[in-house]
């Protein structure tokens, strides 16, 4: 006999929406709002450190660009990664940070650190969403 699956009640968007938005805008903020201060501090701190390393290494930020599949994937994906850093990305842009993409391993690592900061924040957003919807303890 097949195992019966328990249908989980849907959590309304009004409950998790603001948490996910805050988690995007302020890395670690979603967890703080949920009362997970230490988790929020670790995740937010990791995003901040990765982003600051990226800036210190003079990494370049992606702008969305289309063309062949690989170009679209790299530039749009990179842009999405950069934007996912939330307020850090916005502040850097507001202050005019616009490092050209030049040859050199340091700049290259910087670019990767800037994208990784955004990817960390996406993980933090998903984590905050799962906690808010009780899919995770």
């Amino acid at each position: 006999m097949p195992e019966a699956t328990l249908a989980q009640p849907d959590v309304p968007v009004s409950k998790w929406g603001p948490i996910v938005v805050l988690a995007w805008l302020l890395p670690g903020g979603g967890h703080v709002l949920l009362g997970r201060h230490v988790r929020g501090a670790i995740l937010g701190g990791s995003v901040l450190i990765a982003f600051l390393l990226g800036l210190a290494l003079r990494g370049s930020m992606f702008r969305p660009q289309t063309g062949d599949l690989l170009t679209t994937l790299i530039y749009c994906g990179g842009f999405l990664g950069n934007v996912s850093s939330g307020i850090l990305y916005l502040i850097a842009r507001w202050f005019g940070y616009d490092q050209p993409d030049m040859a050199g391993h340091s700049i290259d690592y910087g670019t990767k650190f800037l994208v990784i900061a955004g990817l960390f924040n996406i993980l933090a957003m998903v984590d905050a969403y799962e906690i808010a919807t009780k899919k995770k303890d």
């Binding site: 990791s46 450190i49 391993h105 690592y109 990784i116 984590d127």
Partner: protein, 61 residues
């Protein structure tokens, strides 16, 4: 923001440490599991980098 330069190894160490930390925090349930995962993941990053480094060195001889 002061300009900074890192060697390949230093950049890899920092990246490995941050990735291990974040993945450990979001993917494991208890603190013990998180610490264990973080250390194991970091160790595997180091092993992989040294392995690939030697592979590239021997491949270019």
């Amino acid at each position: 923001m002061p300009k900074m330069t890192l060697t390949h190894f230093e950049a890899m160490l920092l990246m490995a440490a941050l990735i291990s930390l974040v993945l450990g925090v979001v993917s494991k349930k208890t603190d013990r599991e998180r610490i264990r995962y973080g250390i194991t993941s970091f160790g595997w990053f180091i092993v992989t980098v040294f392995g690939l480094g030697w592979l590239m060195y021997l491949g270019h001889r």
